[in-house]
């Protein structure tokens, strides 16, 4: 799984450098979230700009990270969803769970 992370104003911004988030790579993403929260990170912002495709296990990895965040009294937010990816969140009602921002910059302003 190709990821770049950077810390900006107290947020760990994770840029997902994959075209697809699916059953092939979502377990790895899930583990990444676990590691980050376990090592003390609080506020994660996942940049999905390059993700053109997400399946149920990709959604599941994000939900898993969201639950880790809650347990750690932190947050996991999302930015830059492509329209088709966004529609998967809507179909599964997960757009009501996640804070979703148009861009990373917009998320960092909040």
């Amino acid at each position: 799984m190709n990821l770049n992370s950077e810390i900006i104003t107290g947020n760990v911004v994770i840029h997902v450098k994959e075209e697809r988030l699916d059953a092939h790579n979502s377990a790895e993403l899930k583990l990444e979230f676990q590691k980050l929260f376990a090592s003390g990170s609080q506020n994660l912002l996942v940049d999905l700009k390059e993700v053109r495709f997400i399946d149920s296990s990709g959604l599941g990895a994000l939900v898993s990270g969201f639950k880790n965040a809650t347990t750690s009294h932190g947050s996991l937010r999302l930015a830059s969803l492509q329209p088709q990816v966004k529609s998967m969140f809507e179909l599964t009602r997960l757009h009501r769970v996640f804070e979703i921002y148009q861009t990373v910059a917009e998320a960092l302003e909040k």
Binding site: E19, R20, D22, A23, H24, F53, D55, S56, S57, G60
Partner: protein
Amino acid sequence: MEKRGIELDIKVPNQTRYLSLIGRIGEDIAREIDRYSGDRETLAYQINLVLTEAMSNAIKYGNPDNREETVHILINISDNELFIRIYDYGQGFDINEIPTPDFDALEDRGRGIFLIKALMDSVQYRKQADGNMLEMIKQLH
């Protein structure tokens, strides 16, 4: 096979790394369908997705003793219908017993069959002489 239809019979190793290949082939086919009046890119995503979900399940549940090393997928387009059939060799399940996910309970899993049912017009899962078959149909108008 229907006259002038497209038929693909695909066997790939039962490994998740081939999900993207199968999904992309589904997209290519969706983009080629000339009778479709809806948004072609949305259809492409949907076909990619249902193939990915169905193949993931065939890999996860469909091959308990590693009896088969391949996943078998049939894609068929006739005049007005897109058929996808995916075979597995597991113990099977009753697809009608799979509930709609509880949208308030935050589960990591259990959204695959829901998505398939939401995006296809007909979804059936049946025992076969040898194994099981998930059949998904989409009307193309």
